[in-house]
């Protein structure tokens, strides 16, 4: 539907490079205070054009408040927001934005098409056909006269996405879009998001289902207590979440000293009081053998891969202790 018509390969690559050097969303020291309490503190967020940005944080961390400020639904107490390098107040920029914040905002006594036509008219789209197009894209074209109040949660969410897609926006802000969806609904929405990304849209989405997010996101931002803890690309995250060899030993300090001496290229860190994580180990048996030969008891050992969820929880706990 929204396919780009690009001609030469060189031209395509140049345009792609240009696009990636532009920030679709850029905030500078964004702050939101509710009375004395800061919901968002000095948040500096950068979302490159053409990326799928996963915005992660615990409940109450400030995700929805941040997204609401980006959409103009909440006023920042301080700081600046720029969309596509223009101030957020610019009406031309707002037309490039499609939003689904928390639950889909729908009139329950209207049909899917009537809701879509309402939004189309709100945008000033002269042709009601755009409503039919987005309903088709989201698989809701055949809902007929069924009123939204009789829709399942998944259908409502899909209709919310359909409304966000009206006007062919360049940036989609989706707050918890997979909440309440069944596995099939989640898969369908994931496929839709991937398709939209392939069509060149920038997508900023928050979700608690980190496993699902990790399947599609190209960049991540982690927010904790209103502050952005980290922004990483998928590649950087994969590097950080590299395989490690974990051993459980009786004497952690002695084991550290021995590992440093015998394997100088291996990075070691303490996971807890009795576990050590070793990065860069190729043969775990060699480590075990060395420790046993030096009379350090090894209770358990094995290779692990840290996933997004584990990494997120690790960051929430304040970071690992590096030894």
């Amino acid at each position: 539907m929204y396919a780009e018509h690009l001609h030469g390969k060189g031209e395509k690559e140049t345009m792609e490079t240009d696009r990636k050097s532009i920030y679709a969303v850029e905030t500078n020291a964004l702050t939101k205070m509710y009375g004395e309490k800061a919901a968002v503190k000095n948040l500096t967020l950068k979302v490159r054009e053409g990326s799928i940005y996963g915005f992660i944080g615990r409940n109450g961390a400030g995700k929805s408040t941040t997204l609401k400020m980006l959409c103009g639904l909440a006023y920042p107490t301080g700081g600046e927001i720029r969309l596509f390098e223009k101030p957020v107040s610019d009406p031309t920029v707002r037309r490039r934005l499609g939003v689904l914040i928390e639950t889909a905002g729908l009139y329950p006594n209207m049909t899917a098409r009537q809701n879509a036509v309402m939004k189309a008219r709100c945008m000033g789209l002269a042709d009601d056909k755009s409503a039919d197009t987005v309903l088709e894209v989201t698989g809701l074209a055949d809902t007929g006269k069924k009123k939204v109040k009789h829709f399942s949660m998944g259908m409502k969410q899909r209709l919310g996405v359909a409304l966000a897609l009206l006007g062919n926006p360049d940036l989609l802000i989706l707050d918890e879009p997979i909440n309440g969806l069944d596995p099939e609904g989640i898969r369908e929405l994931r496929q839709l998001i991937q398709r939209l990304h392939e069509e060149g849209k920038t997508i900023l989405l928050s979700s608690h289902i980190l496993g699902e997010l990790s399947k599609i996101a190209t960049n991540y931002g982690i927010i904790k207590d209103g502050e952005l803890v980290e922004q990483v690309s998928r590649e950087e995250l994969e590097e950080k979440c590299q395989d490690y060899f974990q051993i459980e030993v009786q004497e952690v300090q002695r084991a550290f000293a021995l590992i440093r001496e015998s394997f100088p290229d291996v990075r070691a860190e303490a996971a807890d009081s009795s576990s050590i994580r070793l990065y860069g180990v190729r043969n775990g048996a060699e480590v075990n053998q060395m420790l046993i030969e030096n009379q350090v008891s090894v209770y358990a050992s094995g290779f692990h891969h840290m996933d997004l969820e584990e990494y997120f929880l690790d960051r929430m706990e304040g970071g690992r202790r590096y030894v």
Binding site: K68, C71, G72, L73, A74, Y75, V88, S89, P91, R94, R95, L97, V99, I101, E102, T103, A104, G105, L106, Y107, P108, N109, M110, Q114, N115, V117, M118, K119, R121, C122, M123, G124, L163
Partner: protein
């Protein structure tokens, strides 16, 4: 703002509540003209006496009571002077505005329209248009009922209808803008409906007016929406009669500006 108005009118056409309100007005009118027929028309009076609704003495008095009554006065008394019209319109406004908040659709609107005055403007215009349609349909229906009942009362002059309908439209729209303000503040249909009943029926204004009048300081309340509607002129006789437009426009501007300021300060 006109995009929003287009959207609102699309919604109004598909909303049952609008037709229910109009139905209430028309049923009220039928009941009122039915009762009047029983009391003012000889055939009706005969039935009233037979069923014990009126005595022969009361029937004789009826012609005196009906003296000086025309179709405009009857129309005013039937729907507007008692506050019935404002109550029903107010409840409809509460349903219309609060459903934006309750459904969450306002997020779709305000994410697109950063200038929140557009939202206020479109709501006022929508309510003004619906109000105008309801008033005109009400009047046409009242005149038709009078004709069906055999011209029970004489018709007023067209200029009197025009004068009355124009200022009453302004005042009822001002009342609707007050309802929009209350709904934007509370975001609750219940609160909006209670406010519509209390403010539209004069339950608040009349006691305050009586109390203040005991100290001879209640005169300014005659310029409230409720008392202006009740006491406003039925025909234009002098320039002083134009005060009704000033009251209507003043309250409309005041409540519109207050709604805009409240909405500008709110997070959604």
């Amino acid at each position: 703002m006109f995009n929003l108005l287009n959207m609102d009118l699309y919604r109004v056409k598909r909303s049952r509540s609008c037709y229910i309100c109009l139905g209430i007005f028309l049923i009220g009118m039928v009941v009122m003209y039915g009762l009047l027929w029983l009391m003012a028309v000889p055939e009706g009076q005969k039935i009233s006496v037979d069923i014990g609704m009126l005595t022969a003495v009361q029937v004789d008095e009826m012609s005196t009571i009906m003296d000086g009554t025309d179709s405009l006065i009857l129309f005013r008394q039937a729907s507007l002077d008692g506050g019935m019209y404002n109550i029903v319109l107010g409840v409809w406004v509460a349903l219309f505005v609060c459903s934006d908040y309750q459904s969450g659709f306002i997020k779709n609107i305000l994410a697109l329209h950063q200038n929140r005055w557009n939202y206020v403007g479109s709501r006022i215009m929508t309510v003004g248009i619906v109000n105008l349609c309801c008033l005109i349909l009400n009047l046409i229906f009242a005149l038709a009922m009078n004709r069906v009942a055999g011209d029970m009362v004489p018709y007023a002059g067209w200029e009197d209808y025009l004068f009355y309908m124009s200022w009453v439209w302004l005042l009822t729209t001002a009342f609707a803008s007050l309802m929009i303000l209350i709904c934007v503040l509370t975001r609750s249909v219940a609160a909006g409906s209670v406010a519509a009943v209390l403010l539209g029926s004069g339950v608040i204004v009349l006691p305050v007016y009586s109390i203040l009048n005991m100290f001879h300081i209640g005169g300014w309340l005659e310029y409230s929406i409720y008392l202006t509607m009740t006491k406003g002129p039925g025909q234009y006789t002098a320039a002083k009669d134009l005060y009704v437009y000033v009251v209507g426009a003043g309250f409309l501007i005041l409540y519109t500006v207050l709604t805009g300021i409240v909405l500008e300060k709110q997070d959604i």
